[in-house]
């Protein structure tokens, strides 16, 4: 199916929302503790089961879905927009579609006119999350490959200006998440079925280091030829059963200072803080059920964690390592998070189940409360911050 719910369709004219049903102002019950925003913020979110991407604006007037754009080439087959990333200059939106024939695709839109300007470029199996290096030159995409049997998959490196694929870097089984270091020289991803954090050299397009996130075995993994990328590699080599390992990492994201990276252990209900200089485990934070995606606020103060199974968002103060807030989402199956550059708001995509619309929930990073939510297409997944404009 291509169409989002009729309710959403009925509100879009020429790509601009006229009605008010999808506008959600601050919840009165929450307004006591959350001040209204003084600027306008825009994010893009993908609806994986509707082949739509939506532009959401949040500002003093509330939150609204401003525009939706249909994506893909075949309207009778779900191609599944999954990962979104905006180029650092805000000019381009990069998007992956997971379902292809069978390889998925990378697309590039010029923001503003919201026009497809490059792609689709064929990548690997189920390209999912992606990131763009700060210079805008390179796009890295984790080819998640959730199809069939568990076999090692890759990370695609693409040249952003022309959108060609440079390399497929063999990583491990089910690589998930892709986040560039502040310098852009390193990309961090995790291996869901191999219990690894992987650091990719973004200049040479090869694996730089591996780190075991298996519970009790956290530490560097020695490269032993092909074996390092496969099941349950752990410090010193060897193989462990996935069921014994207890982390099942789903995301990694570096600190803005570039000295640490945080790993979400979805099964283990904890976050690992890995020191990059020593390539060692620094701290562990316990979380609610099922941490899935996470990001550090640009000011380095907070770690914002989506709890997929817990249907909530958790906020961890990185100075103390303590959870300072946890807030329920407006519907179930929480997915990604994008943060405003002023570290004031977190925009969280929530998938919903079956025919339910997806949601974008907006959380105040001072009160840690949900201040707005906007219905979007089904199975909202990838989310990326676009821009922020101060009100005059």
């Amino acid at each position: 199916m291509r169409g989002v719910t009729a309710r959403i369709h009925s509100l879009v004219v020429g790509g601009v929302l006229l009605g008010s049903i999808l506008m959600a102002g601050p919840d009165p019950a929450l307004a006591q503790t959350s001040s209204a925003p003084e600027a306008d913020y825009w994010v893009w979110v993908g609806a994986e089961s509707d082949d739509l991407i939506h532009r959401i604006r949040f500002g003093p007037d509330g939150a609204v879905m401003e525009k939706q754009v249909g994506v893909g080439v075949n309207p009778t087959e779900t191609e599944g927009p999954h990962g979104l990333a905006v180029s650092p200059d805000g000019r381009y939106l990069y998007m992956t579609t997971g379902h292809g024939t069978p390889d998925g695709m990378l697309w590039k839109y010029e923001l503003g006119p919201d026009t497809l300007v490059a792609g689709p470029t064929r990548l690997g199996q189920f390209p999912a999350s992606l990131d763009v290096t700060p210079d805008g030159l390179f796009v890295f995409v984790a080819n998640f490959n959730l199809h069939g049997q568990h076999v090692p998959s890759t990370m695609s490196a693409a040249y952003g200006p022309e959108l060609y694929e440079i390399e497929q870097i063999e990583l491990c089984v089910m690589p998930h998440g892709a986040r560039a270091s502040p310098s852009g020289n390193r990309i961090y991803t995790v291996c869901m079925m191999d219990e690894q954090l992987v650091e990719v050299d973004a200049g040479r397009f090869e694996v730089a280091r591996r780190f075991s996130v298996a519970e009790g075995s956290e530490g560097p993994i020695e490269e032993h030829g092909d074996h390092a990328g496969h099941h349950g590699a752990h410090p010193g080599g060897g193989v462990m059963s996935h069921d014994d390992l207890g982390c099942s990492p789903t995301w990694a994201s570096p600190h803005p200072e570039g000295d640490r990276v945080y790993v979400a252990c979805n099964r283990g209900d904890r976050i690992l803080e890995v020191d990059l200089a020593g390539w060692s485990l620094a701290r562990t934070f316990e979380t609610g059920r099922g941490p899935y995606n996470l990001e550090v606020t640009p000011d380095g103060r907070l770690l914002v964690v989506t709890l997929k199974q817990g249907n909530a968002v958790e906020f961890i103060d990185l100075a103390s390592g303590e959870t300072v807030g946890r807030s329920e989402t407006s519907t179930t199956v929480v997915h990604g998070v994008a943060l405003s550059p002023d570290s004031r708001y977190a925009f969280v995509s929530v998938e919903g189940v079956g025919q339910e619309p997806g949601k974008v929930d907006i959380f105040d990073l001072e009160s840690f409360q949900r201040v707005a939510d906007v219905p979007v297409g089904r199975q909202a997944s990838g989310i990326a911050f676009w821009k922020m404009e101060e009100r005059p």
Binding site: M1, R2, G3, A6, H9, S10, L11, V12, V13, G14, L18, S49, D50, G70, V73, N74, P75, T76, E77, T78, H99, T101, P102, Q125, F126, P134, D135, G136, L137, F138, N145, L146, H147, G148, A157, Y159, Y164, E165, I166, E167, Q168, S181, P182, S183, N185, R186, A202, G203, R204, P256, E257, G258, V333, E351, G352, V353, G354, Q355, R378, Q379
Partner: protein, 703 residues
Amino acid sequence: MPIVLRAQSSILVPSLMILTLGLILGVWTASASAQDVEELYRLVPEPAEVVVEVGETTPLEVRSYDMDGNPVELDLSFSAPRTGLHVRDGQVLGRQVGEYRIHVAIITPDAPRRVPAAIYVENPPPGMPRGPQPVLEVPVRVVWPAVSQVEVDVADTRIYEGTRTRLRAEAFHGDGTRRQSPDVRWASSDESVAQVDRHGNLEARSVGSVTVTAEVDGTRGSASLEVAPFPARGIELEAPVDEARTGDVLHFQARVQGEDGSEIDDLPLEWGYIFTPHDSVHARGAAATIRDGTFVAEVPGIYTIHAVAGALAARATVEVHPRQVLHRAHEVGRGRVTHTMSHDFWIFEGVDGRDYAITGTSGGTAYIWDVTDPSAIEKTDSIQVDARQVNDVKVSPDSRYAVLTREGASDRVNGAVILDLENPRNPTIATEFTDRLTGGVHNAWPMNDYLYALSAGQGWVIIDMADIYNPRVVGSYNHPNSSVHDVLVHDGIAYSSEWENGIVVVDVGNGRWGGSPENPVLVTEVYFPEMLTHTLWPYEQESTGKFYLFATDELWPRVGSPLEGYADLMPFDPETGEGGRPAHTGGYVHIIDFTDPENPEKVARYQMEEYGTHNPWVEDDILYQGYYEGGLRVVDVSGELKGDLRAQGREMVVFKPYDPQGYIANAPMVWGAQPHKGHIFFSDANSGLWSIRIEPREGRPVF
């Protein structure tokens, strides 16, 4: 910005170049300031343009200098399209012929930001401005390796004076690979004996010996021929019939008599025809085709067939009449679904003796219909599954179970939903099977004992369905570089539709190739140009003994065609005026003679230029083709098939379902059709399930 001393590619620069660089230093400074560049470097590639053969490597060195012309060591990153070439450790590997550019960027040290432009490009390639840039572009040409061998293909080294034959040449590289579309230059050692034109057509002019040479990129291959005296004194040609219909395939046979009256069977013949249309027919230029004596007409009229050899010619005439297969069809019943899009469906006789349909929708719901009376279709039940899309719906031949394929499940494990049809009016879910099917199941094919289910686009798995509550995987097949969209099993052979890769044929129990469900064995791959195979239907034609594959494309969008149209499927929104436009698709039915699996031949097509194909069904010499916005097309596919079936007048019925209140109003979008007990059922994406009946031919006037 500090410079990192970790060079991969830097070398010392000659002093002369340093002086040259210094002369334009002022330009660099101005440019650098304007672009807010922290540091600016000059990179000099050696060579300036890379030329490399496919499969070979060649060095590429990039020298780095600061803006004073001093050599520096920089960490450099090399990017290039992986399909065309690969750059690693100063070596460029050619992969595919073409023109490319390598992008060279400076890897800055770990720091919280990177410079937006760091490279001064003095002599940029076309399209790249001069001045500070984030990358250096190095042009690359990947070329074919040298041809090392040319082979001339001659069917017979003896050719008769006055006749013509076609020569072919193949060129091979040193590694044994074949040059695609080689540019061949032909020559004859003695043009008084034989001439060869630029297309390889050889004309034997006089008796004698001759050597023909084919040259590709300076490498030659040759063949020696003997031109023998013209041996024949006459040709006899008989038409197999005096009258035929458009679309009938006629095999003309010419008998060539030698001087002594014996029959000669190796004299090459050229075939042609002269067409005299009926007075009422404004025929096109190519009203028929004939090749090697096989003739089929598209347009009624009188055709005189010619067989020519040297100075001899023979003629035979056949009169071709209109095929006259038009029928009238009328709507019988509806199972309307307009709130969402309908997808696949299946009609079956249930174990209770009544007839049922199951339809899938975009909304993750499958509907059950009693269609025993096609004029009073009754919705009896619905089954909601955790999926954004129930795509494929099929029922096992014994009506014991149904399979719903699932995509977009909230837990992303997808798989197939198996329905227990013990009570076909109200089926229940027997199991949700996900083993090896987590990426989403687009299509499946149930047999009584086994279910064949796609695992995303990678391959397909074979599931033992003896106990539908406890299915188990017993086998699988993943074809190299698979791009599978559908699989169908007939007579122990699995045919998978593989988009631009055509069709993959696998023995899963036929026995001829030793395959079984537990051990599938590849039989062959079938590919012809233009194929974009979405699905297919195998058909054994009783009247001819031929075995055809009807392979249908699915093409979105129609980019590059005169009618590009629209590719969205949004319903009309009265508040906004948006949506409601019919979609436009493309593609056609490729008809392949698969009687000899080792020598498949594409023999015919059924194509409507402005519409696009979806699912076919062939039964009793009739093709029921879901042709999306072209509606349901019912086509006579009786007899041997060759050429353009539409042009031959084989269309029996076209039925376009219009529903003013459809998901998209009045927009036919036929998914597929199935004949059942004298009625034709079909699924329309915008309006749901339909039944129609085709009236006997007497019911419709034919002009």
